[in-house]
Symmetry: C2
Subunit: 520 residues, 2 copies
């Protein structure tokens, strides 16, 4: 049956290609040899794709480019990471919402600047023009405006979609999770902003990924700095995106790009270079407020005052050990209006993804992928959706969860501890034949008591294969039934790890299973 | 800024429409008045959509047709339902996997028969041709074949996408969740099949949605029945889909469709009519095995023997009270090969969705939307993906979770009990001014101890508004700070429900909060 399926699929496709060729010949009698060659090469390519020359037709079995399946082990890790993150979001009183995976195309356009070309569009099959969501922030803003919500603290964990060029971004995915926490509402300055940083600090500490730093800056400080350094207004954005490369390139190269490619004066570039090398805490903000040049910009001063206030709150939240005010931080997205931040892992040896590094190409990427969280304030985005332009100030953070998954997977592989993919407490087994009915009765008793239990789907499985299944999937207990046990009204309870066996009365079994597995 | 945005968006669209009109006039000088009228009406429609005649331009603020957002209350219900379902799947030892939201187009084609036209395609933006997943079963089969997995018990909870015609399927969504549990592997007959029914029974009982029935049949019994009733081979599928309408139409209408539209003989239809009116348990299967006509079909006999065996196991699983062997059950999807089943809610008064019924149109739908779970055996699907056609027998069940959500939402609305959307245990508040720093210190202590706590993002909020927030979001405790309390090293702990207040030493606060909130 499969053979037929493949041949049909294959010949259907080839048929279509051939028809195209032949039609071309009819319609354009002047078809060139080059064109024929091209068609032939397309056909051969197709043939290769379908199984090569060995006569077997192969169906292409893969997930779309840039996507992957999660197997049960990866899911077990994912569940653990999500529990930690959601636990933190809930500790801070967040509600959660969900939005559709696609939005009206017009909801997304005009929100991401240059990145808009990476949006996945749906095919026009009649009806509305749709596109897959690119992040969770724009749908959140659309949700707030649509429902006229002016106050909310919400988290949203869901997949987003970007047609990223894999040559540029090795190791990244086109479908990936975002874990966003945002606070919307008109509040006193820097209190919600500080809580976002507290949340990043809590999550990264709890996930135990190694040491980290949270870099903080402010869009207004950047813009003020560009102004006082003599960057023309219309070059702010492009110079800003060059500054953004400082975590991947040395200053000399960044400067070269500013001067040679972007046409900035050498003098302006040097002044920027001085500022963006500065890192510190509240003291740096105070110093810059006194800085002769910087203090000329009202915008920069507003940003610097807020950084000072932010650090006051961060001290109360006990997180200043990891936070650094860094003038080189310049996040890409257009919608930020105030504070911006980014968390990076600083511990060497954690960043490289060893499994991916094996294929050489990914190795270089591992140097610059330390970023695991980022966010900032975007006070104008909701207003873009509101018919009357009413603004809802927002600040939020997004946890770069795919990086975290990779690191946790590496740690799991390096560890001797086995990851369990199920939580089964006990297996119902037997050494003798013809006991299926008795086993099904017992497993029903256990399920009905809320115990996680399994039985093999065979009438007469071998005891060894039943025990092997327990070892492989980490099931700690086995309830063994035999003629004698049934007569005595007991089961033989076996502890898989120690092979210790003890008879337990049927009446006492459920309590005994809870007692022995509740510590786990 | 918003104004500009809207006008640009609007005039851009109108411009395009107008250009179309004008171009038409140039290219086809023979354009009719009707055509012009049509274009004008389109333009006016567009104008209405963009904000009507009042001069204000409105951005279209909506989710795509057939989709919806989930607000925090709906999410709280969703979380509760998922916890119940996942709890059951885990109790039965299932692992979980995840697959991408889109697949290669060719992975989906040829798997859904007629329904293929409802698949959402992605736009061809260069690269692979992709489509959104239509269910979780075909991606599961692709996953098994791709990874050469021959044994797995897995659940998968995720959204699927169908471009259903909303005129036909009111109240249904184009983006909706599926909760699937499947057992893949070569096992002894009917043991995994029976466990799937046990799982449906457990979930529907635990969700407490009212009384239910699980109808069971077998694709082989249906096909055998058609054969012995004299249905020509090439009409099996189409007659089967007519039988499938029996839960929505009386037999007389179904018969009319068979005879008048599908060209079946009246005699054959009457014979089918006799069989499909039969319902029972193991006894019915035994009787049909003796039935003069039915027993002529080997296929039917194989199915009937398996139904008998299934009921033996269902008795051991203690679920026969809800399961009925029903010869009229005929599920649509092509890939089923053996046992099929469907669970329906039977309690009147639960099915109609009152909120939707208000707009008349949805009212009639509510009569026939009792189905809340369905599934069956599909032994051929994995083989369709395997290059060598190796088969992996599978049986599974899908919980119709959107129906469950609707019912739970109604129940929640009817109930006096308020749904909490957060789990906050305590709010840190003060009656006096200038205590923000002290409040931030205290909330940090609580967070660091793992307590879910909130503080208002205002320097000097009114005590009343702090207490109001607690009442609204169901926060049970308030820690009130004042100059006196700070001096005494205590906090005033207020129980929101009783307004009782008691001084607790700072050192004892955390234990006290746990003690008072762990019962909840």
């Amino acid at each position: 049956m499969l053979g037929m399926f493949c041949i049909r699929a294959c010949s259907g496709l080839v048929g279509r290609w051939t028809a195209t060729c032949v039609r071309s010949l009819h319609v354009f009698p002047g078809i060139t040899v080059d064109q024929i060659d091209e068609e032939v090469s397309k056909l051969l390519q197709l043939k290769a794709q379908l199984g090569g020359d060995d006569g077997k037709n192969q169906f292409v079995l893969k997930t779309p480019k840039g996507t992957r399946d999660y197997n049960p082990k990866q899911m077990a890790i994912r569940e653990k990471v999500f529990n930690t993150i959601v636990g933190c979001f809930k500790r801070h009183g967040a509600e959660t919402i969900d939005t559709p995976v696609f939005e009206l195309k017009e909801t997304l356009t005009g929100k991401y600047g240059e990145d808009s070309k990476l949006i996945y569009d749906l095919k026009d099959q009649g009806g509305e023009l749709l596109a897959l969501r690119y992040d969770l922030t724009v749908p959140f803003a659309r949700y707030l405006a649509m429902n006229k919500i002016t106050n909310i603290k919400r988290y949203h964990i869901a997949k987003v979609y970007r047609r990223d060029n894999p040559a540029m971004t090795r190791g990244r995915y086109r479908e990936f999770y975002q874990c966003d926490f945002d606070i919307a509402g008109q509040y006193d300055a820097m209190i919600p902003d500080a809580e976002c940083l507290k949340i990043v600090h809590e999550i990264l500490s709890e996930l135990d990924l190694g040491d980290f730093r949270i870099k903080v800056n402010d869009r207004r400080i950047l813009d003020g700095m560009f102004a006082v350094c003599g960057v023309p207004d219309d070059k702010f954005r492009t110079i800003c995106s060059t500054v953004d490369k400082l975590d991947k390139m040395p200053w000399e190269e960044v400067k070269k790009e500013m001067v040679n490619e972007k046409g900035l004066s050498e003098e302006a570039a040097d002044q920027i270079g001085e500022y963006v090398s500065m890192q510190g805490g509240m003291d740096l903000a105070e110093r810059l407020l006194q800085d002769q040049k910087m203090s000329q910009s009202k915008l920069a001063c507003a940003g610097l005052s807020d950084i000072k206030l932010l650090f006051t709150y961060l001290q109360l939240f006990q997180v200043t050990d990891k936070v650094v005010f860094d003038l080189s931080l310049a996040r890409g997205l257009d919608y930020y209006t105030g504070i911006i931040y980014e968390a990076v892992l600083t511990q060497a040896g954690v960043a490289p993804v060893t499994t991916e590094a094996q294929n050489g190409a990914a190795a270089e990427e591992s140097v610059s992928v330390g970023s695991v969280a980022g966010g900032g304030r975007y006070d104008g985005l909701v207003g873009m959706f509101d018919p009357k332009g009413r603004k809802v100030p927002c600040v939020g953070v997004s946890i770069g969860i795919e990086r975290v998954f990779s690191i946790m997977e590496q740690k799991a592989e390096a560890s001797t501890e086995k990851i369990r993919t199920t939580e089964v407490q006990i297996m119902v087994a037997s050494a003798q034949k013809n006991l299926l009915e008795e086993k099904l009765k017992l497993v029903t008793e256990l399920w009905n008591a809320g115990i996680k239990a399994e039985v093999m789907y065979k009438k007469n499985p071998k005891l060894l294969s039943q025990l092997q299944h327990c070892e492989e999937s980490g099931i700690p207990l086995v309830a063994i039934l035999g003629e004698q046990e049934l007569k005595d009204g007991v089961v033989k309870l076996r502890v898989v790890a120690t092979r210790e066996e003890v008879d337990i009365s049927r009446a006492a079994l459920i309590d005994e299973v809870w007692r022995r597995t509740s510590a786990a």
